[in-house]
C-alpha cells in the first residue's frame, strides 16, 4: 500500500513538476492595482550560490525514514537523490559519489539493526561533517500536520541563541544554514518565503520543526516533518578525519537498551534474593539438644517373647446375632435358681 502511494505520488509529482517549472519561469507579472503582485520569475535573477545537496541512504531503512527522505527532497529544491548505498562500502566512498553528482553537501541516512537511524551531514570535499542519532521522526504525511507550503519556496531559518554560545554548536549552525537554506534564484525554487525551519536545543538535543507562515502577524501552523537530532561526533574531514568534538551526553542506543535490560534483570534478581532470605527465615534454626543420660535410667526393656508361628487356622468364633440374648438367658437361669432357692 505504501509502495503504491509512493509511486503514485512520485508520478504525480513529476508530472506536476514538469508543468510547474515552465509556469514559474513564465509567470507573468500582473498589472499594477493588485496589492501583492506576482513577483518576477526566478530565471530573471542571477543564481550565484551554487549549493547542491545529495540526500540518500544506506540499505535497511524502514518506511518512516524513506518518507522522511522524500519529504526533505520535496522541501529542498536544491537537493538530489541517489540510490541506496551498500553498507559493505566504506564511508569515504560517499565523497566520490557526491563528486560524481556534482554536489557539495550531503545528507546521508544510515540505518542499523532496522531500529536505529543515524544521519550524517557533511560538506563533501574538505569537511567538516557531523553524525547524529535521529529520533522521534514524524513525516509530512501525518494528518496532524495541517500546514502546507509552496513546493520549492525558500525557508526562513530560526536558531536558538544557544547556538551562538558554544563553538561546536556554532559550527553546526553554519552547517545547517548552508545545507537547508535554498539559494536565491535557484531555477527550481519559488520566490516566496512562506515557511520557517526551527532548530532548538532542549535536553542536549536539537529539535527540528517546520512551520507555515499564515499571516504577517506571525501566526504559524506546523507543516512537518519533525525530528530530533542527538549529536554524536563532529569530524574535521568529510566522513572521516580527526574528531573535533564528541558529545559527552550521548548514549548509544545499544547501551541504552542494555541498561534497560540490566535494570529489569537486576530487579528480578533482587526479588529472587528477597524470596530466598524469607525462606531461610521461615525455616528457622534447628536447636540441637544433647542426649540426656539420666532419661534412659528407668527404661526396662520388655521380655522377649518366643516367636510363635501359627500353622493351623484358629477356630472361628461363633457368630452371635444377639449379644444381649446370651445375657438374657443367663439372667433367666439365675432367676430360676433364685426362685427355687428362695
Amino acid at each position: 500500500m505504501a509502495a503504491k502511494r509512493k509511486r503514485g505520488a512520485l508520478a504525480a509529482g513529476k508530472a506536476k513538476r514538469a508543468r510547474s517549472i515552465p509556469s514559474a519561469g513564465e509567470a507573468v507579472p500582473e498589472g499594477g492595482p493588485r496589492e501583492h503582485s506576482i513577483p518576477p520569475p526566478v530565471s530573471q535573477g542571477k543564481w550565484k550560490n551554487k549549493e547542491r545537496v545529495l540526500i540518500f541512504s544506506s540499505r535497511g531503512i524502514n518506511f518512516r525514514t524513506r518518507h522522511l527522505m522524500q519529504d526533505l527532497r520535496t522541501l529542498m529544491p536544491h537537493s538530489k537523490g541517489d540510490t541506496k548505498m551498500d553498507r559493505k562500502d566504506q564511508l569515504f566512498v560517499i565523497n566520490e559519489v557526491c563528486e560524481m553528482k556534482n554536489c557539495n553537501k550531503c545528507i546521508f541516512f544510515e540505518a542499523k539493526k532496522k531500529q536505529d537511524l543515524y544521519m550524517w551531514l557533511s560538506n563533501t570535499p574538505q569537511g567538516p561533517s557531523a553524525k547524529f542519532l535521529v529520533q522521534n521522526v514524524h513525516t509530512l504525511a501525518e494528518l496532524k500536520m495541517t500546514g502546507n507550503c509552496l513546493r520549492g519556496s525558500r525557508p526562513l531559518l530560526s536558531f536558538d541563541p544557544i547556538f551562538d554560545r558554544v563553538p561546536h554548536y556554532a559550527l553546526l549552525k553554519e552547517l545547517f544554514i548552508q545545507i537547508f537554506s535554498t539559494p536565491q534564484y535557484h531555477p527550481k525554487s519559488q520566490p516566496f518565503v512562506d515557511h520557517v525551519f526551527t532548530f532548538s536545543i532542549t535536553d542536549e538535543r536539537i529539535w527540528f520543526r517546520n512551520y507555515q507562515i499564515i499571516e504577517e502577524d506571525a501566526s504559524l501552523v506546523e507543516i512537518g516533518p519533525r525530528f530530533v537530532l542527538n549529536l554524536i561526533k563532529i569530524f574535521q574531514g568529510s566522513f572521516g578525519g580527526p574528531t573535533l568534538y564528541e558529545n559527552p551526553h550521548y548514549q548509544s542506543p545499544n547501551m541504552h537498551r542494555r541498561l534497560i535490560r540490566l535494570s529489569v534483570a537486576a530487579k528480578f534478581r533482587e526479588k529472587q534474593q528477597v524470596k530466598e532470605v524469607q525462606k531461610i527465615k521461615k525455616k528457622g534454626t534447628k536447636v540441637l539438644v544433647e542426649e540426656d543420660p539420666t532419661e534412659v535410667v528407668f527404661e526396662t526393656p520388655a521380655e522377649e517373647k518366643p516367636v510363635e508361628i501359627q500353622l493351623v487356622k484358629p477356630e472361628s468364633k461363633p457368630i452371635v446375632k444377639d449379644k444381649k440374648k446370651l445375657r438374657k438367658i443367663q439372667r433367666k437361669k439365675q432367676k430360676k435358681l433364685f426362685r427355687t432357692e428362695g
Partner: protein, 300 residues
C-alpha cells in the same frame, strides 16, 4: 596494607607503592587501579578554525537565518519561573519552539519587505504545493470529523442537561397547580361555611391581608374557631378528623418547642399553684358544650 596490589599494575613497583602509602596517597585495603575514562574530545580551537575556514561570506538574503530566543508571552508564567523548558512537558516544549519561530518571523518579515522579497502569495498564484491536494483533503476531512464528533458530544450533553431541567420545571408547575387548586377549594369551603363573606377567591388573587379588611362581624370572626382548630383546618383541610391526623410527621417529631422542662420533671408550680389558688383559672381549660355552641353561633 596493599594486599592485592602486587598482581595489579606492573608499572608501579613495590617501592613506589610503599612510598605512596607513606605519603598517605594510598589507603589500607584492596586498592584497584581505575581505568581512566577516555576524555571526550572537545577541540575548541580546532572547531573555531574549522568554522572560520568553512564559513561562507554570503549576504543575509541568501541565508535567511535568524537567531533569536522565543517571544516572551505576557500570559504564560513560564517566562518568569525558569529559562529552561522542561523537555518532558510536551505542550510547554512545543510552545517554546512555536514562540521561537514567531520571534524569527517577526524579525525577518520587515527585513524581507525592505529587500523586496515577497512573503505573501497572491490569491491567484497557483503553483505546486509541498503537500498534494489529495493530502490536504484528507487533513480537512479529519479535522471536520473531529469537530463533528465534539459537537455531537456537546449536543448530547446539553440535551441530557435540558431533559433534567425540563423534568424539574414540569414537576414544579404541576405542584404549583395542585397548590392553587387546593387553595381555591379551601376558599370556596370557607365561603360556604360563612367564615368569610367575600368572593375574593374568584378574582384569583390571594390576598393575605388580615388587618385591613375586617368589618363589624369580623371582629368576632377572629375568635371563631379555636387556634388549634384553625391550625388543623389549615393543615388537613376542613371537614373534621381525617385518618392519621394524630400521627406524627417528621417535623412534628423533631419539634420540641412544646417541651416544658418544669412540667416534664414535675417541678413546675402549676400543680401547687392550682392547688393553692383553688383553680381560679386552669390552664387551657376547654369551655363547656353550651359555651362552645354560643361562641359558634355568635361567629355566624
Amino acid at each position: 596494607s596493599d594486599s592485592g596490589s602486587d598482581s595489579e599494575d606492573s608499572s608501579l613497583s613495590d617501592s613506589e607503592l610503599q612510598e605512596a602509602f607513606a605519603r598517605g596517597a594510598l589507603k589500607p585495603g584492596l586498592n584497584v587501579v581505575l581505568e581512566e575514562r577516555p576524555k571526550r574530545r572537545n577541540d575548541t580551537d580546532g572547531l573555531k578554525q574549522c568554522l572560520a575556514e568553512f564559513r561562507q561570506q554570503l549576504t543575509w538574503v541568501e541565508r535567511l537565518d535568524v537567531t533569536l530566543g522565543p517571544v516572551t508571552d505576557p500570559v504564560s508564567q513560564s517566562a518568569s519561573t525558569s529559562d529552561a523548558v522542561d523537555p518532558e512537558n510536551d505542550f510547554q516544549r512545543e510552545m517554546s519552539f512555536y514562540r521561537q519561530a514567531q520571534a524569527a518571523v517577526l524579525e525577518a518579515l520587515p527585513r524581507l519587505r525592505k529587500l523586496h522579497v515577497p512573503t505573501r502569495r497572491p490569491d491567484d498564484y497557483f503553483a505546486e504545493m509541498a503537500k498534494s491536494d489529495q493530502q490536504m483533503q484528507k487533513i480537512r476531512q479529519k479535522l471536520k470529523s473531529k469537530q463533528e464528533a465534539m459537537e455531537r458530544s456537546e449536543k448530547a450533553k446539553q440535551l441530557r442537561a435540558m431533559r433534567k431541567y425540563g423534568k424539574k420545571v414540569q414537576v414544579e408547575i404541576l405542584q404549583k397547580r395542585q397548590k392553587e387548586k387546593k387553595n381555591m377549594l379551601n376558599a370556596v369551603k370557607k365561603y360556604q361555611k360563612g367564615l368569610s363573606d367575600k368572593l375574593d377567591f374568584l378574582d384569583e388573587e390571594q390576598t393575605s391581608s388580615q388587618g385591613n379588611k375586617k368589618g363589624n362581624a369580623s371582629q368576632r370572626t377572629k375568635k371563631g374557631p379555636n387556634a388549634k382548630r384553625r391550625y388543623k383546618n389549615q393543615k388537613f383541610g376542613f371537614g373534621g378528623k381525617k385518618k392519621g391526623s394524630k400521627w406524627n410527621t417528621k417535623e412534628s417529631f423533631n419539634d420540641v418547642s412544646s417541651f416544658q422542662s418544669k412540667v416534664a420533671h414535675n417541678k413546675g408550680p402549676g400543680k401547687g399553684g392550682r392547688g393553692g389558688k383553688g383553680g381560679k383559672k386552669a390552664l387551657n381549660k376547654r369551655p363547656g358544650k353550651r359555651a362552645r355552641q354560643k361562641m359558634k353561633n355568635r361567629a355566624r
